[in-house]
């Protein structure tokens, strides 16, 4: 019996060493290839490999797949794969009542139970009576299935994730081919290990068939826009957006960075493209990273730096230099839980006020935030465009949720991306070049690149004289320059899209969000709209300057509810910017994304008339 589902949430959970991230990605890939819409949420510990069997060591991968539009990895899990007691306990609270648990019964041995102080075995007692439990001796069956291949015990144990994947493939009627191809590719240098992995995968699949403990399910392809698709994570999309901008401008990309979770993957990705003249510089620290990018921008490359919260703090001083010297510079901040080292692998949106104000003195810059894993591509591209065209630094606020989560992406063509105008200064014997002469509309200065004959000039961090750019301590000039720099950034509002509203333009309640919470907010708002609630969503990507119709948008609603993964930073900013409106807040600061159900509950409070 095959039961058809509209959408389903699956979670793989085990030890960091159990390969759950890989299992999850394979399940995701296969589902994507089968045409489902989907959204993923990998969730791993701060430790590389915390002690096996402990809570600290649990690594999870959640994915929601559907035949309808999917915007979040899902609040509640329908099917949980738990490789040991810790993995079960950590995830049980999010399992739907009546949901399915596939437990590796070998992993529920006294040693592992002991590690989390359980005296009774939850897969034997009645702890799980409200769920459908499939006990599978995964470890031992895996071993058995690959006996005789002559693998050592460690390698044997490493195959058990394929067994569990096999079980899930059977359960969800997934096509096994792409994983087989993946294994062939991955182990092309170790055929024996490749064989073992495939054997384990099939063994799991057949195990599912054999026990037939439950009906099996299927999720039909989603009805989504026609085109060619691929999966993409936010971090990869940021990297690729930069590559696209480099190709489009025919300017080399210089990426100065210092590794930090959850941003490092962008460095890893970009370091592959040396052949496109991408220079990735792994600096000795975040300050050297941003300064090298400033130096590269000064000398004509596209200078980019990338970090997470602690690194953003360290880059504050150098941002001021880029602001004063009016050079292009892109700063990516993949937000994580804080303050201080905080929760390094968890998501949060708490660097907003720092991005807006976290530098000494009057130092405005552009701040933008992508809202899905895939549009990280567009905003990385846009950041380069704005930064070059307006000659000012741009901060991109991504977050751990976007960074690691993935979703299907309709592949765009680089040809269709908007052109980028480069305000390059050229030597002109008639007209002397003044470093601080400006484009009259944008107020951006012109970029004179070292090596260009006749444009020799000096810039620096001391206050500049208007037009000439010479050092000036003149009081009135200082005030003028402060205003010019502010106005230059403010005018960017003329060059970005107006703020859109999802739902009616004018109505009862406007839900406001920004950045990575989009999927959850959109799902919640759409569901409420289906419930005939008078509600719309305004989700912001452009944070400074705000879109020029922002006040208008906000003014069309009786109530405004700002939802954020912080204590209310965007609400605070809106309040200061448009004090004429009243803002309600819903905030969560648990290192986790919003759940759709919790959002709906909270939003409903403001819908009671």
């Amino acid at each position: 019996m095959v039961q058809e589902l509209e959408k389903v949430v699956v979670k793989f959970a085990g030890d960091s060493g159990d390969g759950m991230q890989l299992t999850g990605s394979q399940f995701t890939n296969t589902s994507a290839l089968m045409g489902n819409d989907l959204s993923t949420f990998p969730d791993f510990p701060a430790e590389i490999r915390a002690p096996a069997g402990t809570y600290a060591g649990v690594s999870g991968f959640q994915v929601q797949i559907g035949n309808t539009e999917i915007n979040t990895p899902g609040d509640e899990v329908d099917v949980l794969v738990a490789m040991n007691p810790a993995a079960l306990k950590v995830n049980l609270h999010s399992l739907k009542k009546g949901g399915i648990i596939i437990a590796d019964s070998d992993g529920f041995d006294p040693k592992n139970l002991n590690k989390i102080n359980l005296s009774s075995n939850p897969i034997e007692d009645d702890t799980l009576s409200e769920y459908k439990l499939i006990k599978a001796p995964i470890t031992s069956l895996t071993k058995k299935s690959i006996e005789g291949l002559g693998l050592d015990t460690k390698s044997q144990a490493r195959c058990k994730n394929m067994f569990s994947l096999g079980v899930m493939y059977w359960l969800f009627n997934r096509n096994i081919d792409s994983t087989v191809a993946f294994i062939d590719q991955k182990f092309k240098k170790d055929l024996q290990l490749g064989d073992a992995n495939k054997k384990a995968l099939f063994a799991g699949y057949h195990f599912g068939e054999t026990i037939e403990a439950t009906p099996s399910y299927t999720v039909k392809p989603a009805k989504i826009a026609a085109g060619k698709y691929r999966q993409i994570t936010g971090n990869t999309a940021l990297a690729w957006g930069l590559l696209a901008a480099s190709e489009k401008t025919a300017k080399h990309l210089f990426f100065g960075s210092y590794p930090i979770t959850p941003a490092s993957d962008i460095l890893h990705e970009l370091s592959k493209y040396k052949y496109w003249d991408v220079k990735t510089f792994q600096a000795e620290d975040e300050i050297a990273a941003i300064c090298s990018a400033i130096g590269a921008s000064y000398a004509g490359d596209i200078g980019v730096t990338c970090t997470a919260g602690p690194g953003l703090s360290l880059k504050a001083e150098a941002m001021g230099l880029a602001i004063m010297t009016e050079l292009p510079l892109v700063i990516i901040d993949v937000q994580r839980g804080g303050p201080s080292t905080g929760l390094p692998t968890k998501t949060e949106q708490a660097d907003l006020l720092q991005a807006l104000y976290g530098r000494h003195a009057e130092s405005p810059l552009i701040v933008i935030a992508p809202n899905t894993a895939s549009n990280c591509f567009d905003f990385a591209y846009m950041a380069v465009k704005l930064s070059i065209e307006h000659m000012t630094p741009v901060i991109i606020l991504s977050d751990a949720y976007l960074a690691n989560g993935s979703e299907p992406w309709k592949i765009p063509s680089v040809n269709n991306l908007p052109a980028i105008q480069i305000p390059i200064a050229k030597f002109d014997a008639e007209n002397k070049y003044f470093p601080y002469e400006r484009n009259v509309e944008k107020l951006s200065r012109y970029w004179a690149v070292p090596g260009t004959k006749g444009l020799e000039h000096r810039i620096g961090g001391l206050e500049k004289e208007d037009k000439t750019g010479s050092v000036s301590y003149d009081p009135v000039n200082h005030e003028k320059m402060i205003h010019i720099r502010a106005e230059k950034v403010a005018r960017v509002a003329q060059y970005i899209p107006e703020q859109t509203v999802i739902g009616k333009e004018k109505s009862e309640l406007l839900v406001v969000g920004w950045g990575g919470t989009y999927g959850a907010l959109l799902t919640a708002v759409k569901e409420l709209q289906l419930e005939n609630e008078s509600i719309s969503l305004a989700h912001f990507n452009y944070l400074n300057p705000l879109p020029k119709n922002t006040a208008e948008v906000l003014g069309n609603f009786k109530k405004i509810l700002v939802c954020e993964l912080n204590t209310g930073q965007f609400a605070h900013y809106l309040r200061a910017s448009f004090p004429q409106f009243k803002y309600e807040q819903y905030n969560k600061i648990q290192g986790l994304p919003f759940g759709v159900r919790e959002l709906k509950e909270q939003i409903k409070k403001y819908l009671i008339k």
Binding site: R230, A283, G295
Partner: protein, 347 residues
């Protein structure tokens, strides 16, 4: 082995002159400051190089020394305190055809900028670091610096400093530096010559200039630089030449086990043959380190190019990787990349 320092194309100043390198900015150092002489030496040296003016970039941090770029009619970038090596790295990697200078003080490069300094050396980025060592923080009005002599009384050390100063040369060598030279603000010719040699060296060149701050640390280098004593306290190193010094050219440096000693020619049967002969191109840093370490009054202070060793530069290696990877380019265009891997068509 012929080092790069010797092969640099030095030509007669046909096209460019000192004036071409002089900007229109009023020079704002204190009257009598050693920085003036350094500026003049640089403006004298550059016309001797076969490098177009627009290919020179002067990057600096913050400090009196760091004002230098404003006075040069070239590209110039007055950046942040301590961060010039990183900015310079970015400039050089963006465009390796530029001749990149970093103009810095002892505080700028050895205090706040120490980390970028040693990492730049380790990577061997091809830039020229000109270190104005006045053993004081000039611009902030006279606090001791990481090169100030122990015991120095300054605004922040009314009881005398308790810190041992860095020896820039030793630090450079400890950080795997490939080029280290020392020169003096009172010797314009030697300065100009050393600047030219630093450009000739491929890799990070560090030129320490013993510079006098007339206001806050006047005379700190007097023993080494003053007319009366300089001959006895300067050892002018030249590659291939024996280490002789002294007013009467009758003193020399000899190796005694693993230590250096000052000897007198003629005394105890010592002849020129007993003296060390300078080899700036020896890869092993042992002797260079010993020479860099020599301090007055026990020893003369080594002046000149102490170390100039050919080693691959970071920038060359990076551009080599870039070129090599172009041979086996995985994707032609970004569109190819976007469409690579697992994709599927929705109809």
């Amino acid at each position: 082995m012929m080092a790069e320092a010797e092969t640099i194309n030095i030509k007669a100043p046909v096209k460019l002159t000192k004036k071409d390198f002089t900007s229109d900015q009023v020079v704002r150092w204190c009257p009598g400051c050693g920085d003036y002489a350094i500026l003049a030496a640089m403006q004298t040296a550059l016309p001797m190089l076969d490098i177009p003016r627009e290919n020179h970039v002067f990057v600096s941090g913050i400090g009196c020394a760091a004002r230098f770029p404003y006075y040069m009619e070239t590209y110039g970038f007055h950046t942040l305190h301590g961060r010039a090596p990183s900015i310079a790295t970015g400039v050089k990697l963006a465009n390796p055809h530029l001749t990149v200078w970093e103009m810095t003080g002892d505080g700028d490069s050895l205090s706040i900028g120490g980390n970028h300094f040693i990492h730049t050396l380790r990577r061997n980025i091809d830039i020229n670091i000109i270190l104005f060592n006045n053993e004081i923080y000039g611009l902030t009005k006279g606090q001791y610096s990481p090169t100030s002599k122990k015991g120095l009384v300054t605004k922040s050390t009314p009881y005398g400093s308790v810190e041992t100063p860095f020896s820039p040369g030793e630090l450079v060598i400890g950080a795997l530096g490939s080029f280290f030279a020392r020169t003096i603000d009172t010797n314009p010719k030697h300065m100009a010559d050393t600047f030219i040699k630093s450009v000739g060296h491929k890799g990070t060149s560090v030129v320490e200039i013993l510079q006098n701050c007339v206001i806050f640390n006047d005379g700190t280098h007097d023993l080494i630089t003053s007319k009366d004593t300089k001959d006895d306290y300067q050892l002018l190193l030249e590659h291939g030449k024996p280490m002789i010094f002294g007013k009467e050219k009758n003193k020399g440096i000899k190796l005694n086990g693993l230590k250096l000693e000052v000897v007198k020619l003629g005394e105890n049967g010592i002849t020129e043959k007993d003296l060390l002969v300078h080899d700036a191109y020896e890869a092993d840093p042992t002797l260079h380190s010993m020479l860099a370490r020599m301090q007055a009054p026990a020893f003369p202070v080594a002046i000149g190019v102490i170390r100039a060793v050919k080693q691959p530069t970071y920038n060359d290696l990076v551009f080599e990787q870039i070129e090599n990877s172009k041979q086996k380019q995985k994707f032609k265009t970004v569109n190819d990349l976007l469409n690579s891997g697992e994709t599927w068509i929705v109809e």
